[in-house]
């Protein structure tokens, strides 16, 4: 994985000192709360309902054991012994004191981590396919480009006070495991007819209260021009976005208002201008970064056989592992969705255990996923049983990847000052209701947001749940048919909402319609797309 040289730590350390100075000026009253807010947000520090929350960047979701153990230490020292993985491969801590935030950032810096631009109206931490470097179906490892994008976008002077946030994702497979089309800007690494590597570029996606799936703005961009192209997109948006209504300032709104063709025309014009400046990062810098992501020394001649004699292990193996590019290896998904628990939460002790497993069995490589799970990307098949045993002992061996209990949920009204309704108890009740029946139902991605800001990705849920406030009580709307994958689609609301128990029943009714109507091999989403909303509405509102 990437290692800092003498330059990166100087930048991160300076950021810590800058923030320490800003926090001091706030505490001394030299900065007003309004002035301090955008400054702290650029360092990932939110003010929540009960305390500050600090969101730590995990660039492209990649961690090593040293970093993971530091995250565990931070959970013990500055939080209440837990961390919470987010829907953008980051981790957040919910019980932070303002006076301690700079010290926490200082500790992160000792393991080459930071919270730069994890919040606020800036270019956020770059996310990527969690299987990068391991997936059997990838063109190449997406992470060197993601790291290059990190360096292009951290502390970028022209684009640090943008109209709104700007989220970037990078993938390198036809299978989209990173919710690419729901990002403001995204690149898919592709190979053209002549075998040249380049980027398919997408722009204008996003969730929130006005969801849009991005459009393909460029079919093929030479890799060496990505900084110019990115700046062109950002400049068109920065100059022309509305500034009068924070809810209408994301790039997706400008794309919608200008139209895709006109937006593309303006970007191409600005792009031609940027190319003349000679500011693009050169191939030699890509090569330098890519060397850090050289494949680990995979052993050859390894056995492919799996001993399936333990049925619980066999079940877990079938659900939680994915095809690896190297023979004899597998990708292991670690579920952070045990039945009845908080999606994405992990204790300090579990973090230590996962760090040990990464170090011992996965070339010291651990990944976070946008679905709030973890991945050991490179495990020998011969070691899978031992890994499963260790995970099982730690309560981390749930076999529910992409099933109905593998729920994405935002922190909701239990923590978040923006929320209208709680998400966590609804996730827990659904998890308990469907425990043991997940495999029978099959792939079903369920996503819960506690308000219209959609941090729980309800627009992209096969089943989505949106918590709203209805005359002072929590109410939940049901949505169907969304997808965050390569077949991206936006979920639609079924009709009137439900109370907390009612929404759990409604989800069950929707699954019953599916089970009654599904044809061979159909996922929930396939059946919904074939039969439409009506049969579900009939069952829900009869």
């Amino acid at each position: 994985m990437y290692r800092y040289d003498q330059y990166d730590p100087a930048m991160v350390d300076t950021r810590v000192e800058e923030f320490r100075d800003q926090a001091r000026r706030r505490i001394e009253g030299k900065l007003t709360d309004d002035q301090f807010k955008p400054l702290r947000l650029k360092n990932g520090l939110y003010l929540q309902l009960h305390a500050y929350m600090l969101r730590v960047a995990i660039p492209y979701g990649t961690l090593d054991s040293r970093q993971t153990r530091k995250l565990a230490d931070i959970a013990r020292k500055y939080d209440r012994g837990y961390g919470h993985f987010t829907t953008r491969q980051n981790i957040q801590y919910n019980w932070i004191k303002l006076e301690e935030a700079a010290d926490l950032l200082g500790e992160l810096a000792t393991v080459e981590m930071h919270a730069i631009q994890t919040s606020g109206e800036s270019i956020r931490n770059v996310s990527a396919d969690q299987y990068a470097g391991a997936a059997a179906d990838e063109i190449m490892d997406a992470r060197p480009w993601a790291e290059m994008l990190r360096q292009m976008t951290n502390f970028i002077p022209e684009f640090s006070y943008l109209p709104r946030k700007f989220k970037i994702a990078v993938i390198s497979s036809d299978t989209d495991r990173a919710a690419l089309r729901w990002h403001d800007g995204a690149v898919k690494i592709v190979r053209n007819d002549t075998g040249e590597i380049g980027f398919e570029v997408y722009a204008g996606g996003g969730m929130g209260r006005t969801p849009f799936i991005s459009f393909r703005i460029r079919e093929f961009l030479p890799t060496g021009q990505i900084f110019s192209y990115l700046q062109a997109i950002l400049r068109v948006w920065n100059r022309h976005a509305r500034r009068d209504n924070i809810h209408k300032q994301r790039m997706k709104i400008l794309v919608h208002e200008l139209g895709e063709e006109e937006f593309r025309r303006q970007v191409e014009e600005e792009f031609q201008h940027f190319l003349t400046l000679g500011h693009d990062f050169p191939q030699e810098e890509y090569d330098r970064i890519a060397a850090y992501f050289a494949p680990p020394p995979f052993e050859t001649g390894l056995a492919e056989d799996i001993d399936r004699s333990d049925p619980a292990f066999a079940l877990w193996f079938d659900r939680q592992t994915a095809a690896h590019k190297a023979p004899g290896y597998a990708i292991v998904n670690i579920s952070l969705k045990p039945i009845g628990e908080i999606p994405g939460d992990i204790s300090a002790e579990q973090m230590d255990l996962v760090a040990d497993l990464a170090e011992r069995y996965s070339f010291d490589d651990l990944r976070a996923t946008h679905a709030q799970n973890l991945v050991l990307p490179h495990v020998r098949k011969a070691d899978l049983y031992a890994v499963w045993k260790a995970l099982d002992d730690a309560g981390l061996a749930a076999a529910n990847l992409d099933l109905i209990t593998d729920i994405i949920a935002c922190p909701g009204l239990d923590y978040c000052s923006l929320a209208n309704a709680r998400s966590i108890p609804v996730a827990q009740k659904i998890s308990e209701r469907f425990a043991g029946r997940e495999a029978e139902i099959g792939e079903l991605k369920l996503k819960i947001s506690g308000c219209i800001n959609a941090c729980g990705h309800h627009h992209a849920g096969n089943i989505g749940i949106l918590g709203v406030d209805k005359k002072g009580t929590e109410n939940y709307q049901l949505l169907l048919g969304g997808s965050g994958a390569e077949d991206a689609s936006q979920a639609k609301i079924t009709g009137p909402g439900f109370d907390e128990d009612g929404i759990v029943n409604a989800v069950e009714k929707a699954t019953e319609v599916y089970l009654a109507r599904r044809q061979d091999g159909e996922r929930f989403l396939d059946t919904y797309r074939r039969i439409g909303m009506e049969p579900f509405k009939e069952a829900l509102y009869a």
Partner: protein, 144 residues
């Protein structure tokens, strides 16, 4: 406290800045004021007679002025670019990198805070409108 922070050696002009519309209409003006919503590219044909461009920041979170300054520098403008309005000292390093070389904030700067802001960063990751050499160039032996 600093009401104005100026990073240029030449004599400041005392000509009051006029709106871009007025500037383009009157051929003898040399100071112009750009509002956040103005298209600064309209000024480019008349750049030769500009000595001072004031770019206004109506509120802390409105970053349009960063792009306006860079566009002027990219077009070869060498005169003064002054940031006015809700300019917080924490933003002036990025502003300087985008081409601003003077600041007239609504609320005066603490001189020590301003000095810290401008001298704090040992390196930069990207090219901008200033002459700082990005880290990727330093890494590959080019000191600019």
């Amino acid at each position: 406290m600093l009401d104005v922070l100026r990073l240029r050696d030449d004599e400041p002009t005392d000509e009051p800045a006029v709106s871009m519309e007025a500037f383009l209409d009157q051929s003898n003006a040399s100071s112009v004021r750009i509002e956040a919503g103005d298209d600064v590219r309209q000024l480019l044909p008349a750049l030769e007679r500009v000595r001072l461009v004031e770019i206004d920041f109506p509120k802390l979170r409105d970053g349009r002025g960063f792009s306006s300054a860079r566009i002027l520098r990219e077009a070869g403008y060498k005169g003064e670019i002054k940031a006015t309005g809700d300019v917080l000292v924490d933003l002036i390093f990025f502003m300087q990198r985008c081409g601003f070389d003077s600041f007239a904030p609504d609320k005066p700067f603490d001189p020590e805070d301003a000095n810290n802001a401008l001298t704090r960063w040992p390196h930069v990751y990207q090219h901008a409108a200033d002459d700082r050499v990005p880290i990727w160039k330093l890494r590959h032996g080019d000191k600019g």
